[in-house]
Subunit: 459 residues, 2 copies
């Protein structure tokens, strides 16, 4: 069947929830980042798992590629419909289907966003801690195995997802996982689809493990003369097992960007942002005190507590705006964001060598890191039309990833593979392991219609 016939069939199924308008197609051609867009032939807006099944069945019958789209906040080009076809926008699947306060879990449709869920939980005493910064959809966060500032304490989407509903390449809906807190009953399909970036099926519903809202919370900041001292403080904190809930590093360039963007007046120096969660003020006080002693030993200046919700909100808003603050250094630019994660013992060395590379390049690149996990980003504002800039960013990324892999790390801590990291997968996993991934892909999507051209590099 040709694409026109397919689109007519989709209109029969979905009515006006099919769009071929230029603006809508353009919006679905790309995510946030520097990756070049490709226009899909059509965009569809399912409102149920049954809709997604019907769409997938129609596309499969027409041999038409399908790419899922959530909030469009992804950074590695996951949502770019490289081979055109149909972009499946899940944003209208935005119902909270079930909430159990007793069991601390919730089932949501894939298009529910993080902030929408936060709002839904506000009066329940419960909390979904994962926070990648952007107001991503829960389905997108699951598909990319996202994490963010709280992963050091609460884990990543790998840990948070208890079960999924997934529409497979042949249009069947499967359920994975249970509501039990643990299980050893069969292959872990949940973890297979989490992080598969829509290449093995489309996630339509997600069951998440929640946490009780911490009884006591406190934040603190501290600045350092050198980034090494900051990182070494964090290494000690992690090694001693102090249960920090967040620990974020912003370098002097990022602090300058944040000061400008968020109208703050913080020292232009490497700075750590901490958050502590506990059962009581005494517990939080103990964690903060132990942390304060460690940073002091490493030359930290002005370990300053922010205890009121307002102070905390202001501090973390500045942290969350770091990406946009970095882009604002060059208005009109797009972000080229790196995302390596290394064993914590190598973090200071990795950051030091990377900053030396950056100093040798024509690019500016504020650094922000979820340093408790060994994960850090450079956000480099680039003009995607400038070949020299893109080449410089690519060169720096290649060197950075090679460094991280040599240290036992990964090319992607939390942003996923998409288009941007495919070229590193063989170096990271080896040819044999990639062959196993390819065998799984072929078994579950034999005609390569689910988000083709992503994750697995061509042979």
């Amino acid at each position: 069947m040709n694409r026109d016939g397919l689109i007519a069939q989709l209109r029969g199924l979905l009515g006006d929830r099919v769009s071929t308008g230029d603006a809508v197609r353009d919006h679905h051609s790309r995510g946030e980042s520097h990756h070049h867009g490709v226009l899909p032939d059509a965009v569809v807006f399912p409102t149920s798992t049954a809709d997604v099944q019907a769409i997938v069945q129609a596309c499969a019958a027409a041999d038409c590629p399908m790419t899922a789209f959530g909030a469009g906040s992804s950074l590695e080009g996951h949502v770019v419909p490289l081979r055109r076809g149909v972009s499946i926008d899940l944003s209208r699947m935005n119902r909270v289907l079930r909430l159990s306060v007793e069991d601390l879990d919730v089932t949501v449709e894939a298009g529910v966003t993080r902030k929408q869920l936060e709002k839904h939980l506000q009066s329940t005493g419960l909390w979904f801690p994962l926070d990648p910064g952007a107001d991503a959809t829960i389905g997108g966060m699951a598909a990319t195995r996202a994490s963010g500032t709280t992963a050091v304490r609460y884990g990543t989407m790998r840990d948070a997802v208890m079960g999924l509903t997934v529409v497979t390449a042949d249009g069947r809906a499967i359920r994975t996982g249970t509501r039990a807190r643990k299980s050893s009953a069969g292959y872990d399909l949940t973890r297979l689809f989490v992080g598969a970036e829509g290449t093995l099926g489309i996630i339509t519903e997600v069951t998440l493990r929640l946490h009780g809202r911490p009884e006591a919370v406190a934040s603190a900041t501290c600045w350092f003369d050198s980034i090494d001292e900051a990182v070494n403080s964090v290494i000690t904190i992690v090694q001693l097992g102090i249960p920090v809930a967040r620990v974020e590093l912003l370098d002097e360039t990022q602090m300058e960007a944040v000061n400008r963007h968020s109208h703050l007046n913080r020292p232009l120096a490497p700075t750590l942002f901490f958050e502590f969660h506990g059962l009581s003020d005494a517990a939080v006080e103990e964690h903060a005190k132990a942390t304060g002693e460690i940073v002091a030993e490493h030359g930290g200046h002005e370990f300053a507590r922010a205890v009121t919700p307002e102070e905390r909100a202001k501090l973390w808003q500045a942290r969350h705006d770091a990406y946009y603050a970095a882009l604002a250094l060059r208005p009109g630019s797009r972000g080229w964001t790196t995302d390596v994660c290394v064993p914590i013992s190598r973090l200071a060395e990795c950051i030091r060598e990377t900053k030396a590379d950056l100093a040798d390049s024509p690019l500016v690149g504020p650094l922000v890191g979820h340093v408790g996990d060994g994960n850090f980003h450079l956000v480099m504002p680039v003009n995607p039309e400038s070949e020299p800039e893109m080449a410089a960013a690519e060169h720096l990324t290649d060197r950075l990833v090679a460094r991280a892999l040599a240290m036992g790390g990964t090319c992607s801590g939390e942003h996923g593979v998409g288009i941007g990291k495919m070229r590193f997968l063989e170096a990271e996993h080896g040819r044999e392991a990639l062959d196993v991934m390819r065998a799984i892909k072929t078994a579950l999507d034999p005609r390569n219609l689910m988000n083709p051209g992503k994750v697995l590099p061509p042979i």
Copy 2:
């Protein structure tokens, strides 16, 4: 090639590390539990991943089934070589390959046992918290996605395993995962092989995440007039987010068995065993105090602290001996152990109905539960040669699993599927999800030579 030819070839590869003696074959015919054994044609003892590759290649060429064997402590018949062939005993792969105190991780060969690892870590300040009771091998624990008493705080093997070396059905060795604490770089092969019970490949090396040994530890016990009160205490503790490190329930029957087996004199009443870990005595004190208040509100009696290492060791030794204490109720019996896990809000109801079933059956079944996770076991001593006993145990298990699944739970919290739970997998996951598991199995082991007859029920 016939089996004799294969065995000759294996002797060529391994010399005297191939056994066809009756005693050795008998030892490798079964695990701990009631499942009937099958004699393998031969048992081989590799000492390296390269050995395992050579064995798998030889077996594959001869179309010969392969079943991995660790400590033989599994409870669902995973190690029974149902279609005979070669039992691959990994116990001589028992080297600790690498330890990083700085990064809190370790790489071991699959045959290293939990206690061997504990001993290796003794002077390092580090700790591997997972504790399934038996002195299982780390490879076996990974293959069955084991957990145990500390999962409520430290998670299961799903969470503890950072990476694997796996020999696939075609004899290639792949590496999965990295030493970074998180990654979103490609399909999560680690989590696919964890819990696959050797049906997709043989795990030969495991990289584990470790923890700092807790600075402060305390234990406590408390008994109740009714099991409902005990369980409701735990539900409240979990919902309030009190970070208990262990919380175990033993019912009155299990306490009687433990008293007898471990020469204790505890009340014959449902009893909770707690352990608290913290940064300081003050933190542990806070957790214990909050717990004590909750159990008092739920009618708990004699919330008693055991603070010295000796008291703690005695207490937990009794808990760990629970399985053998239950079997000792009927000398010469084998254990038929159930293993459901349900959402915590349904736990009291599930236990109540199950104990009513047990009262109606001819069997005795002490109950022991990792109740913070919603996971509990009945250990029913049975005579595997008695058809009525086996039928009664099967009937009770069928009803128990149906109940757990209706509550949103799982047929296996931590023991795996093996032979014993296969018949429940379709009810738990649905036919479509099982089809996806079968597609993966076929893709990775097209000739069904890796531990055939396990995990996936025949169609």
